[in-house]
């Protein structure tokens, strides 16, 4: 996507999956901000690719408010279910969306709801922990 309004990254290559989500934001007739377009890039297994693709279908046209309240379980049910070991793929897709919205709000100096800020912080922390843990494993 050219000049996306927000970019969200989730997961990391160490655990296997990496998603990047790009969103374009516009206003609808009621003047609410909506996700006008959404594109993904995914490095991952089948479930990860399917989850990100499903997410783009589900997120497109939603208001930012709706998107922020998005439940990743919707991805799973729309896909007709995922095996337990693959549930994290849908979690990643949901996280990528949160991150993209956070990026958009942050860049445009708009108010960021506490819930989104907290999730963003948590995701940053998780990424650090995984990289550290992984490095320890490799250098043993």
């Amino acid at each position: 996507m050219k000049n996306p309004d927000g970019v969200g990254k989730a997961g990391n290559v160490i655990c296997g999956d990496l998603m990047e989500l790009y969103i374009k934001v516009a206003k609808n007739k009621k003047g609410q901000e909506i996700i006008k377009d959404v594109k993904f890039e995914t490095y991952g297994c089948l479930a990860a690719i399917a989850s990100s693709s499903m997410l783009t279908d589900l997120a497109k046209g939603k208001t930012l408010e709706q998107a922020m309240a998005f439940n990743r379980k919707e991805i799973v049910s729309e896909l007709g279910g995922l095996p337990p070991v693959k549930i994290h793929c849908s979690v990643l897709a949901g996280d990528a969306l949160i991150e993209a919205i956070f990026d958009y709000l942050n860049k445009n100096k708009k108010p960021i709801p506490e819930k989104i800020r907290a999730r963003h912080k948590q995701l940053q922390k998780e990424k650090e922990i995984i990289s550290k843990k992984y490095k320890a494993n490799v250098s043993k």
Partner: protein
């Protein structure tokens, strides 16, 4: 739904059952259903089937029939070798036993060692070079006064790298002579059996594992060769079968199938090795030439003739697996998702591969039935698949 895979390039996972093998098995699933331990005629018929297979296996390993133990799988045989040896040693020795193995062993050995490590044993995991091969000097260096077992696989299941088993056997014999020790040597030859010389004496092994379903035989049967004098303790109990080492009624049909399969390996080996090396090289060269940013994992030379393990940068192995499956080609990935684990393959990490390369690897393993036409087809469709998956990947 994906088309049923018609081109089967996952022979390291399992091989199709040869027709002659199936024929050898069928009587024991029908009229000759007797229990090999029974004294009456039906029992004796079953016994004859088991003993014929034992002779066929002993011929293959150039050993005595009493040295062959039929098991339920190669995993079970590996477990018996590792756990049974340590148990036997601990009986007469109070010292903390030390085991030497490698970072690229099959989980059947690694996890048995891990269990012992938690229960009072010491384990050294030897690293491998970029070629996926254990260094003889590292084996030598790792030996301690309390070393009792060395377990190094004959050829790796993921990358096909062939380990210097005969050299290690020689080295251990020399060490045992010099230091008056009795370090035992086990090798898992499940992947190697089709292509490499498995003469137990030439290899200098005390214990050797074979698998039925990697040699065009049935699943549910393996073999542990236990050299005379290298007695192990049983790890399961409740019967006299297989010298008391593997109690439980013999799986007559599977054992008979194993015997026929192992006999056929010897008959086919030379031709098969030459043929598969040619096809495998065509596949490797074709992929490396036509698809950018690809690399072969493991040694090119010291490698099983049927194995090609290739990393495709920027794409995840499982996505390639399913794209190929959709096109009718069955392959496997040593990476995360296939094995229900999220970490990349321990073998590829041991080679020093960065995670993105380890995650993007595909194992093609050819078999007796593989044709040149099938390789042509894979080479035709693969570049498009990789190109498409790279297009949607954030890793450029």
């Amino acid at each position: 739904m994906a088309k049923k895979p018609t081109i089967y390039l996952d022979n390291a996972a399992t091989t199709p059952i040869d027709k002659a093998v199936l024929k050898a098995m069928l009587p024991y699933l029908g009229n000759d259903f007797g229990n090999a331990s029974s004294l009456h005629s039906p029992g004796q018929k079953a016994r004859a089937g088991v003993e014929k297979a034992r002779k066929q296996t002993a011929d293959f390993l150039n050993c005595q029939t009493e040295e062959i133990i039929f098991t339920g799988s190669a995993t079970e045989a590996d477990n018996m070798a590792v756990l049974g040896t340590i148990k036997a040693v601990q009986k007469n020795n109070a010292k903390k036993p030390h085991i030497v193995t490698s970072e690229i062993e099959h989980p059947a050995v690694l996890e048995a060692c891990g269990y012992l490590q938690k229960n009072g044993a010491e384990v050294s995991y030897l690293p491998v070079g970029k070629n996926g091969i254990v260094k003889l000097a590292d084996v030598k260096k790792s030996i301690k006064p309390n070393t009792v077992l060395v377990s190094i696989m004959y050829a790796n299941n993921e990358i096909g790298s062939i380990q210097p088993v005969a050299e290690i056997g020689k080295l251990l014999k020399a060490i045992n002579r010099k230091l008056k020790t009795e370090i035992r040597f086990h090798t898992d030859a499940a992947q190697a059996a089709n292509y490499l010389d498995c003469d137990a004496r030439k290899l200098g092994v005390d214990l050797l594992t074979l698998s039925g379903h990697k040699i065009y035989g049935p699943k549910g049967v393996g073999v542990l060769y236990v050299k005379k004098g290298a007695a192990i303790e049983p790890v399961t109990f409740g019967g006299h079968q297989e010298n008391g080492l593997r109690p439980g009624t013999e799986n007559t049909a599977a054992i008979a199938g194993f015997g026929t399969a192992i006999e056929m390996v010897s008959a086919n080996r030379r031709l098969q090795t030459a043929n598969l090396t040619k096809l495998r090289n065509k596949l490797i060269d074709g992929i490396l030439k036509t698809i950018p940013k690809t690399s072969l994992n493991g040694s090119r030379e010291s490698r099983l003739p049927n194995n090609a393990n290739i990393s495709f940068s920027g794409v995840e192995g499982e996505s390639v697996l399913f794209a190929l499956n959709g096109a009718g080609v069955a392959v496997s990935t040593g990476s995360a998702c296939a094995s229900h684990k999220l970490e990349p393959s321990h073998v590829l990490l041991a080679l020093g591969l960065p995670p993105e390369k380890a995650h993007g690897s595909i194992r093609f393993s050819l078999g007796r039935q593989t044709t040149s036409k099938e390789i042509d087809y894979v080479l035709k469709i693969l570049p498009g698949i990789i190109k498409r998956l790279r297009k949607i990947s954030p890793i450029k």
